[in-house]
Symmetry: C2
């Protein structure tokens, strides 16, 4: 059955080694790795010349349109270790009705992935690699969506998972995590407190720390956002990408994808300007960008309605900042008011229900068109990282007594 | 940009006329139509020979993998009238871990569509045709998901929409409908009471009645489930399809698709056995199937946790029953207990969170393997019609005080 071709066909792999994202020192592939000696994320390195020589755009186009189409660009060696719940390509949706004196406004709707968020990309890859490396017990701190994806893929792979969320994580996320087979706890703290619990518990419990960027493969999963976007645009890229930035794995992954494609000769010309979008109540990357530093300080009293980007400290901060600067992009913060207003405006005018983090990218796009940091000629892609259904919506309480005669003048 | 190719390329259309589903009398295409003179649904007819002569499987395969890939099989004449929110192909997910003495068990996850349900297929088509025919004010009774899809596509098309739900419709659905720009009311009754409000209000309000099957184009949208499934399987079909059946538009539409493909010579051999799945608390089609009648009586005191299939009377009952019988399938009912148990079993063991209606198809598959109405050799596709995130999930209340020393023995 051809729909399963990407999951059942053996394909060549091209991983050569891993490398510290900060220092560049080399680590062995195909064995369990977490952080580098410098305590920083490891990046997966490929034989890109070999890859370019052995695969063509035409061949890729004939495969099913899902994440595993890009198998040769990914770290999983053995087909039997691929853990999948149907990672179909997510659509690009052009919102021409909101374009005013601007270039194209396109949303990539990542809410269509398994478990309703882009976390599925990172976690299907990390869980597949955990399977390949013989790991069977996984733990993670999460603001909600990553935990849901971990729970689902761990259950799919027959593994146990342990998930810790801040206590104000939306109810739907916590229930989803439990329903999908994980053990889940609410913690009276923020995501870094949850992360501490995971880190400290490793020795006693034997679980593997699946925190953002503490294992090398979530980046590779998120990299497929870049591969897929370029593929969907006929191996072209937009002028600007607005990305809601918490841990930043996706921004780092996409930038890695674009550079790998450029090295292979599959992309030419200017790469997209990468814009890291944060909330004014939690903007460590924006502060570091503006101050010209390579690392971001811990943000105190972090708060925002967009809980997915409420990440006070990111271990890959320098990789985010490098990508933003190297690409000619920038980091910017938007207020909660503009996020809420943006969410309402987009859903009412276009029917597309964004998540708050997705709405933050829209708010940033509007703000930066006014500021002039993006020009009316630039075509922009916003990443809506999760389904709007995963978040509480405002009330809608009109009701009708159908046992009484109705006054249609009041209804229609 | 190639991702938008299906939405921007003019393509030939092949609609010749409409026909009463019951009597077969002929109606004009390209003008506003609702029910036939017999008060029954109208079916869209195509020049299938012309279609087969002018399009090839190879050509289709080169287009983006979305619903509009099948434009020539669909009624919209002018490209400018296509209303879309990114209807990407939904994945087929094989659940081998649940196959025991059975053929392949495959879920088609329709929860990935815009607004999180298969209703998007019917509504994007019906709203596109409303645009083509100059209609601008739409009204509908709904158990939730259809109303959400109507709201989204109407807003996308710049139209007004009016939605009426039973008062116990899940909160998330009602809020979603409102957020996406519709006017929505809760009604102290069932969906047929809501339908009565829409029908009676037409004259006073000038709205167009978008009730299930009361306009001819939702079936054509749902038909794409059949086209897409066959396409994904390399223009083959499974042995059996389990379909959660309320109004039945999808079952009718898929059966229409398979027969159109057979007439065109694109499918050969046996078509799938169509199984209509209902809940024991609302099973009018099952009763009619067992009693050998062509129409179903109104089901009194309808109740089930699977609110999407809580439809006491369906105007297309005879089309559902015809498809089930002609295909060598059957209609079957499952208890709420087996639906709840099925939902839990699938999500915990595979990570795939079904909606209750999708879980009903899984419960039916298990039940009918035992009964022998399906054999261990038959490969089956279950339709999960909506995202599990649209439904209330059971609670998950474990919590941890991170300000105190933790006992990891109790956690891990």
């Amino acid at each position: 059955m051809s729909a399963f071709e990407n999951l059942t066909t053996n394909r060549s792999t091209y991983v050569t080694h891993l490398e510290c994202g900060l220092k560049g020192d080399r680590y062995e592939a195909d064995v369990i790795q977490q952080l580098s000696k410098a305590g920083r994320p490891l990046l997966v390195k490929y034989d890109l010349q070999g890859l370019a020589a052995n695969i063509s755009k035409t061949e890729l186009a004939q495969r099913p349109a899902d994440l595993w189409r890009y198998r040769e660009f990914l770290p999983v060696r053995k087909t039997e270790n691929v853990v999948s719940l149907g990672e179909s390509h997510t659509p690009l949706i052009r919102l021409s009705e909101l374009e005013e004196n601007s270039g194209q406004l396109i949303v990539k709707d990542e809410g269509r992935l398994p478990t309703g968020s882009f976390k599925a990309r990172g976690l299907c890859m990390a869980v597949s690699m955990a399977k390949e490396l013989g790991i069977s017990k996984l733990a993670m701190p999460t603001n909600g969506n990553a935990g849901a994806a971990l729970a689902a893929y761990a259950s799919r792979a027959g593994m146990q998972s342990y998930v810790f969320c801040p206590e104000d994580t939306p109810e739907v996320n916590v229930r989803e995590i439990a329903a999908q087979g994980a053990k889940v706890w609410r913690v009276n703290g923020l995501i870094n407190d949850c992360g501490r619990i995971v880190g400290e518990g490793k020795a006693a419990t034997g679980w593997f720390d699946f925190s953002t960027l503490k294992e090398p493969y979530r980046i590779e999963g998120k990299k497929t956002m870049g591969l897929e976007l370029a593929d969907q645009l006929g191996w072209n890229v937009p002028d600007v990408i607005f990305y809601p930035t918490g841990g930043g794995t996706g921004l780092i992954g996409m930038w890695k994808a674009f550079n790998e494609l450029k090295t292979m000769g599959w992309l030419s010309g200017k790469l997209p300007r990468m814009v890291a979008v944060q909330a004014t109540g939690c903007a460590p990357v924006v502060k570091a960008f503006e101050e010209g530093t390579r690392h971001a300080e811990l943000w105190k009293d972090a708060h925002t309605v967009a809980s997915g980007i409420r990440v006070p400290v990111a271990i890959g901060d320098f990789l985010i900042l490098d990508a933003v600067r190297d690409s000619g992009g920038f980091a910017t913060a938007v207020t909660d008011e503009s996020i809420i207003r943006g969410l309402k405006e987009v859903s009412e005018r276009t029917g597309l229900l964004l998540c708050p983090e997705g709405a933050a990218t829209y708010a940033a796009w509007k703000q930066e068109l006014v500021s002039g940091r993006i020009t009316p000629k630039e075509n922009c892609v916003l990443f809506n990282c999760a389904s709007g259904l995963k978040y509480p919506l405002s009330e809608a309480n009109d009701s009708i007594d159908c046992t009484q005669p109705l006054d249609y003048g009041l209804i229609g």
